[in-house]
Amino acid sequence: MGYKATQDPRTDVRERAYLPELLKGLGITARHFFRNLFGTRDTNTQVVDRKGTSLITTVEYPDEKIPYPPGYRGLHRLVPREDGKPRCVACYMCATICPAQCIYIEAGEYEVEAKEGESRVIEKFPTQFVIDELRCIVCGLCVEACPKDAIRMDTYEHTKPEYNRQGFVYDIPKLLKGPAVSHPSDPWNKREGSEQPHHVHKEAHTRIGEGLVQLKTPHAVGKGHEPKQIGPGHAPSERAVK
């Protein structure tokens, strides 16, 4: 009664000889070993799209870098206007909403005589705009809060580590980068004269989704999103039904 030795279901002689199964397992290990050693490695973020034979997907960081996903929030940048000054009007919306209170702004006023070009219809500008990147929690609320599209986190690069804390204090010269941006809704664009055609104001989120804003990632935002060219003449067709 009790346990019988012949309860063993492996009645196959080959299995009970033990060594053939051992070698079979070693064969699986060796196959993976040579596959990883000599196969091609594909570091695609989408697992289903990987085509390499090697199962290793290590991204060897400083030598190879994978592009950050679209919408990645990295290092901030101040967006310049056509004349090179930051678009920021020192309204303090970003500084107010920042949960970490890492943005420090000091506002200055343009002198009436010195206003030329785009500055003639703007009253304030930041004399100091400092972000402490070591407090920043990269939430992106400052980008959402800004009414002037003056601050963005679309640099697609991360804040670099430093040896001491002073290196993380980013002021205007360190933050102001990128091509000049001008929106149809900007005050200096609207007040030219009545002869100017009425620009269709498109909200930023629609522009990005339709591929009208060139993202810096190498791959497209999504399939089928080709950048469309929309000129002012197409304006009535956009509001076709009305």
């Binding site: 290590t58 960081y61 407090r135 670099k160 001491n164 204090v169 360190k174």
Partner: protein
Amino acid sequence: MAAETDIAPVIATRRDEAMGFFQRMVSKGLGWARKYSLFTYPFATACCGMEFMSVAASRYDIARFGAEFPRFSPRQADMLMVVGTINLKQAPILKRVYEQMCEPKWVVSFGVCASSGGFYDNYAVLQGIDRIIPVDVYIPGCPPRPEQVLDGLMLLQEKIGRQVHRVADKGEPNPTAAQHHLLASMNK
């Protein structure tokens, strides 16, 4: 700009820092060995611990840099990686752990909470571990991207390679610790 002048390297002109040719070769060799075989103590307290795990996992392998084995005992570790928020209650514990480590030791503060308190600017959180221990590299981010962590690790490796390493150390702490103690004593 304040940033550049503050990160200028401290010029060591003391006679103790002077080394002969063979001592210099030994120092470089020891520097090479120490920087490529860091034993990390991941002092993980909060969410940054998840990113530490992802750096240590196979996709952004920290083993490629030699820092593979975490040593959860301060006696066996040479790099203290403070990962996550440090409360005022946890601060004496952190200091005790740091003091239990043997020279040579380095500290990396991982994430904004450890580096500066992050967005927990309140009565319960230590506003940066450099208030109690000397920090060699600050890694920003909430949480830091694995690429950021690897950048910070490479910065630390460069720093270790540049330091003076002696075979018979007279017990002098590394320059970062010396500067930290100096500043701390000045603030009293």
